[in-house]
Amino acid sequence: MTPLLELRQVAVRFGGVTALDGVDLVIPSEEIHGLIGPNGAGKTTLLNVICRIARPQEGTLSYAGQDLLLFEPQRLAGLGISRTFQNLALIDGASVIDNVLIGLHAHRPGGLIDELACVGRGWRRERAARETAMAALAPLGLLEQAEILVGRLSYGQRKMVELARAWVAKPRLLLLDEPTAGLNSHEIEQLRLTLLSARSSDRLTILVITHHIEFLLGMADRVTVLDLGKNIAIGTPDEVRSDRRVIDAYIGNAP
């Protein structure tokens, strides 16, 4: 069974800095996969490679059997790849539901005339989209806040809005960049449960980039560990957590 996402020997260098040095990453369908490593390990760069924002100098990148390097960043949404961002790129001046609707952008054929005229087909499509967006907000407990400006919500709530935006279009591959940063322990627990349930009900494949190894326990199937742009370990969260090399990387090995 071909893996959903497969990166082989990916290398990214810019300006004398080697961000990724021959990295492998293989994720089968419907797996929750963790990507961890200390700061500067190259996790975000790897994510950017997958999203085609960063171009690798070497290596292959395939998704559902296709060479993803042939696709431009704006095509990814149509392929079912969706992501969240570390700096929460939400439209602060727009409502929660408007932000979530952005996630549906690629999945609604739009007629500009329909939208401008605001009648007929355009109207119906908009209503249908709103219902879908509301459905995406429901499991996150944000239904009541749908019309509230995002700028007014707490940080944790805004992260949930971003998540809703990322999965509203029922992607195949969901990429989460530091989803636990800034959340309290209750919110983190909620998030873990939500992701597990979404994986089974929506048949999602999820890649979670995080610092937070504990978050991955009991949730991720496997974890890839990077340090200084290289793979240093791969295994279940428990295996990885007690792996000598991983511990060294985090603490810093001073010979």
Binding site: N48, I53, F85, Q86, N87, A89
Partner: protein
């Protein structure tokens, strides 16, 4: 086009370009340190020139002193503008501040019109003697040379200021990254104040150089604002040498367009050149592009 005409056009172009370069520097300075696009840049110069021509020239002071007075007045007004207008309501974002300078532009223009509009245009004695000198059969006007010398000196002075002084270093740090600069202990507010004063001084200097050549009227600096902004943009707003080069380039293109193409189509032609440059180098002539952060 014969050589003499080409040379004359070229020199005129460089002189014009020197004005654009200096004003562009002032604009870029302010933009880099305070993120404000100063629409009132030209008008401040017009105002101080009016004050000098109408009040200071009555006193028996030489033209150099007049120039110095004009510069000081402008620096003072700029400081006042910064403190009173731009620091008010500190939470305001750069766009809001920019719109304030737009209001200031309108205000100063209205004020000069109110007080002095009735009797314009005024004539003003030049800083340099009239007449030309002859270099290898080619005539260069004294005021052209004078302008270039002053512009050159000012340019070098600014360069020295940035490169070799503490103040200059603070300005460059703030220009690069105000937040980090303030974390390093630089008083960003004070630097911004100094920058505004310098920009005002530059504006006054340029106005004093231009006024004797054209007439002194309330619209004195209006044609220059767009060109100054253009020079700043051509330099990428980041690279000060780029701004200088952009200004000179602009002056040359404009001058040759006026002579070769047509004087009425001078502006559209310059605009076309600007567009071409920005098409290939959106971040200016010298700067490498940065990708946006995700």
């Amino acid at each position: 086009m014969n050589f003499d005409l080409a040379l004359a056009t070229g020199v005129a172009g460089i002189v014009g370009g020197a004005y654009y370069a200096l004003l562009g520097l002032a604009i870029a300075l302010i933009y880099r340190t305070t993120a404000v696009a100063n629409f009132a840049q030209g008008e401040l110069g017009t105002l101080s020139t009016f004050l000098v021509v109408l009040y200071v020239t009555r006193l028996p002071l030489g033209p150099t002193v007049q120039l110095a007075v004009s510069v000081l007045i402008a620096a003072g007004i700029s400081a006042f503008v910064y403190i009173a207008l731009l620091r008010a309501r500190r939470g305001a974002d750069a766009l809001n501040l920019t719109v304030r300078t737009l209001g200031l532009y309108t205000l100063i223009h209205a004020v000069t019109l109110y007080f002095w509009g009735a009797n314009e245009p005024y004539t003003m004695a030049g800083l340099f003697a009239a007449g030309n000198i002859d270099i290898a059969g080619f005539a260069l006007a004294y005021d052209q040379i004078g302008t270039l010398v002053i512009a050159g000196v000012l340019g070098l002075a600014l360069f020295a200021l940035f490169r070799f002084t503490r103040v200059g270093l603070s300005m460059r740090s703030v220009a690069m990254n105000p937040e980090v600069a303030s974390l390093l202990g630089i008083n960003v507010d004070r630097v911004a104040l100094v920058v505004w004063m310098i920009a005002g001084a530059i504006g006054a200097l340029v106005a004093m150089l231009i006024a004797p050549v054209s007439f002194l009227g309330t619209g004195l600096m209006q044609p220059y604002i767009l060109k100054a902004f253009t020079a700043a943009v051509l330099g990428g707003l980041n690279s000060f040498p780029g701004v200088v080069l952009g200004g000179l380039l602009l002056g040359l293109v404009e001058s040759f367009a006026a002579t070769w193409v047509s004087i009425t189509l001078r502006e559209p032609f310059t605009f076309a050149i600007l567009l071409l440059v920005l098409l290939f180098k959106p971040a200016g002539l010298f700067v490498r592009q940065h990708a946006s952060r995700v």
